[in-house]
């Protein structure tokens, strides 16, 4: 099943792989492992992002063994086959006459950037609907100018659970009472309708209605798109995007809701922009605020282990210790991720029991249902192909 997930889901769909900010200069690279695949993502000499399979065309050695770094050319450490950052074989020592280097370029992987986010697709023919999805979410993301951001922090957390449990956990807030830090500033009401709100969330809901009315006025004045678009299971590149208010000061994920970084991501007249939230199938989600952005990806490692990578972006000129305190910036999501890891591990243990029989979803878990629906449909399509 794990191998099928890699083949049918991760090798067939557009995946969020890195941020532009991780590759500021030509020659900068990151490597991404997906199942037994390893992919090099590198900025080329023209400043474009390219992706290649991390496999030497000589005898197949893994070429770049670090998670990230900077190269002049891409050189295999085994026999020094040397590829340009365009993937072309530039040098191979002592080859027979008639050897044609142009036949031995690195195998390329589809790569594209979208408003500061880098996506790759391992399929020969990637889902064609990504261009449409990109065109629809780009106006939401673009005002935050993530291309001009830098990585303030990146944390890899290995959750002891299957990647689908990690994703399902992310796609509902039914469990959000387990996130005290997050609940300071996040209105934990998504998925709820007024009729099924528990009494404990009623005060938050009242504040939400007020904040939402005010936020819409701000968004409209600033020309920021905010309407929810939800197409999570009706297309290959399933997605959901919305801009909505945050609680308290309404600026950021902090204890009092005030901005965690004084230098905003762009020239916004106010920091009180709430959160732009983006969910993408199969494996990523994002919160983009006025002062910083948090990017998440879930990558399967084993049937019961998943890498959850969190990347915090701030404006490239923001100075740590001056404009932001790293501990404050990362506190809420570090705590929330740790809590989620515990919940996912518990779920993995429970569903592994022969006694497990699925119970019904709450109406607030509609995005979990959409995720599962998307997954089963994509799997079915793969198996019929």
């Amino acid at each position: 099943m794990f191998d099928l997930d890699v083949a049918a889901i991760f090798a067939q769909h557009w995946l969020f792989a890195a941020t532009d900010a991780e590759l500021p200069e030509p020659g900068d690279y990151v490597t991404v492992a997906i199942g037994t695949y390893s992919i090099i993502i590198v900025r080329d000499d023209d400043g474009d992002v390219r992706a290649f399979h991390n496999v030497c065309r000589h005898r197949g050695a893994r070429i770049l063994n670090d998670e990230r770094g900077s190269v002049g050319n891409i050189v295999c450490g085994y026999h020094k086959w040397t590829y340009g950052v365009d993937g072309e074989l530039r040098y191979a020592e002592s080859q027979a006459p008639g050897f044609d280097p142009s036949c031995f370029s690195l195998k390329s992987v589809h790569a594209r950037t979208l408003a500061g986010l880098i996506f790759i697709c391992l399929a020969d023919e990637p889902p064609a609907d990504f261009a449409d999805v990109a065109a629809r979410i780009e106006p939401y993301l673009a005002p935050h100018r993530l291309q001009q951001a830098k990585v303030a922090a990146q944390v890899d957390l290995v959750e002891n659970g299957n990647w689908k449990l990690a994703m399902e956990n992310n796609r509902e807030c039914y469990h959000c009472s387990g996130h005290p830090e997050l609940q300071c500033s996040l209105f934990p009401i998504y998925g709820y309708s007024e009729s099924d709100l528990p009494p404990v969330l009623r005060p938050a809901y009242e504040r939400y209605l007020h904040a939402d009315a005010e936020a819409r006025t701000t968004y409209e004045e600033l020309g920021l798109p905010y309407a929810a678009i939800e197409e999570l299971d009706t297309r290959p590149t399933g997605f959901r995007i919305q801009r909505e208010p945050l609680d308290l000061a309404g600026e950021s994920f902090t204890a009092d809701g005030t901005a965690a970084c004084k230098r905003l991501l762009a020239d916004f007249p106010t920091a009180r922009l709430g959160r732009l939230t983006l969910h993408l199938q199969p494996n990523s989600w994002f919160h983009v605020l006025a002062d910083h952005a948090i990017c998440f990806s879930a990558i399967p490692i084993a049937p019961d282990r998943t890498l959850v990578r969190t990347t915090w972006l701030v404006h490239q000129d923001a100075v740590e210790g001056v404009d932001y305190d790293l501990g404050t910036l990362t506190k809420v999501w570090t705590a929330t991720n740790d809590q989620d890891a515990t919940l996912v591990a518990r779920a993995q243990l429970g569903v592994g029991s022969p006694a497990y029989v699925p119970g019904p979803y709450s109406p607030t878990e509609l995005q979990v249902e959409a995720f599962c629906n998307w997954y089963t449909m994509r799997l079915r399509e793969h198996l019929w192909r």
């Binding site: 200069e25 030509p26 020659g27 000499d45 900077s70 190269v71 002049g72 050319n73 050189v75 020094k80 040397t82 340009g84 950052v85 530039r90 040098y91 020592e93 080859q95 027979a96 006459p97 008639g98 050897f99 044609d100 280097p101 142009s102």
Partner: protein, 337 residues
């Protein structure tokens, strides 16, 4: 080979750092040589004799005078002396002619002349000769320069190409000049570019001359194209021979290798990797063309001239990293190797 005294008759400015020196051979009406051959020139810049080889850039079809064309090289002892001191009326000791790098030795119906920088001189002598003799041979003249302003003999080549249809001239520039932006082939010559320029390259007799990195790149790309290397001829325009042992003034600098615990001599025209190899020191290296980065090391002190091929990034250069295979010393240097 004859010893001769040359008297300078005229100096032509060709580009900002290239000049042609035209000579009369003392005591003889004319000098017999083949287009592409070179002279060994001796000067005494600091009272110590130093020799360098220069291709005769003029054609044997104009036998009453001979010319050499010299690029000023940072730290270049002889080239700088010629540029700074040799004027009409001045003299120079020389011997020659020497060399097999000539169309006279390898006649063919179709030629491809490949040159980089001041390695243009033998191609130019051969092209001028074929042109003067109204030779029907098909000539494709491909020259690589850093910028359009560095193209040597550009106007004369334009004239030749405009006058006879079977001589074609193509220039390749790495970047724009300070004045002229370059609209032609751009970058370093590689096989894909060469195939575009010369789709019929397999039919041609090839002569390549230029800096070591350039010539090595050409030598490696041609077998990949399936070229019969029996019809390939090359010449490095720098002198590979080490300076005389008793001379400390041959443009030679001290290179201290801290990890090897050795200090070697290396002149301003020899890559440090090459100089180390000549002293029996094998350092980690692979392509020797500035591409693979295997010989990357830290320059602890001093400065070098580095002409790499993408094997190192500006950020690394800013951290005092260099590639030994394509770095020549500009002064005494200390290297972490």
């Amino acid at each position: 080979m004859t010893e001769m005294l040359l008297t300078c008759k005229q100096v032509h400015t060709i580009t900002a750092d290239v000049r042609t020196f035209v000579f009369e051979v003392a005591g003889s009406e004319q000098l017999r040589f083949d287009a592409g051959q070179y002279l060994t020139v001796t000067t005494e810049p600091d009272g110590i004799p130093v020799t360098r080889c220069y291709t005769i850039s003029s054609p044997p079809t104009r036998p009453r005078r001979i010319a050499i064309t010299v690029k000023r090289v940072p730290g270049g002892l002889v080239s700088n002396w010629l540029h700074d001191h040799l004027t009409p009326g001045g003299t120079l000791r020389a011997s020659g002619p020497q060399g097999q790098f000539s169309v006279a030795r390898h006649p063919a119906p179709k030629y491809l002349f490949l040159s980089g920088g001041s390695g243009v001189t033998p191609s130019m002598s051969m092209t001028r000769t074929l042109y003067d003799l109204a030779d029907p041979a098909d000539v494709l003249f491909v020259h690589s320069a850093r910028t359009p302003d560095d193209i040597i003999f550009r106007r004369e080549l334009d004239l030749i190409a405009a006058t006879v249809p079977h001589i074609r001239v193509v220039h390749v520039c790495e970047e724009n000049g300070p004045v002229e932006s370059w609209g032609g082939y751009r970058g370093r010559l590689d096989l894909a570019m060469l195939r575009q320029i010369a789709p019929d390259l397999l039919e041609r007799e090839i002569f390549a001359c230029g800096p070591p990195g350039y010539v090595e790149a050409v030598r490696l790309m041609l077998p990949a194209a399936g070229f019969d290397m029996a019809r390939y001829h090359e010449e490095l325009f720098t002198v590979p021979a080490p300076a005389p042992a008793n001379s400390n003034g041959g443009g030679s600098f001290k290179v201290e290798l801290t990890r090897s615990g050795r200090t070697i001599a290396c002149d301003s025209e020899t890559a440090i990797l090459t100089a180390a190899a000549q002293e029996g020191i094998t350092l980690p290296a692979s392509c020797a063309q500035g591409m693979c980065g295997t010989c990357k090391t830290t320059l602890v002190a001093g400065t070098v001239n580095m002409r790499h091929n993408g094997g190192i990034r500006p950020r690394e250069i800013a951290q005092n990293k260099i590639l030994l295979c394509c770095s020549t010393p500009l002064e005494d240097v200390v290297i972490d190797a």
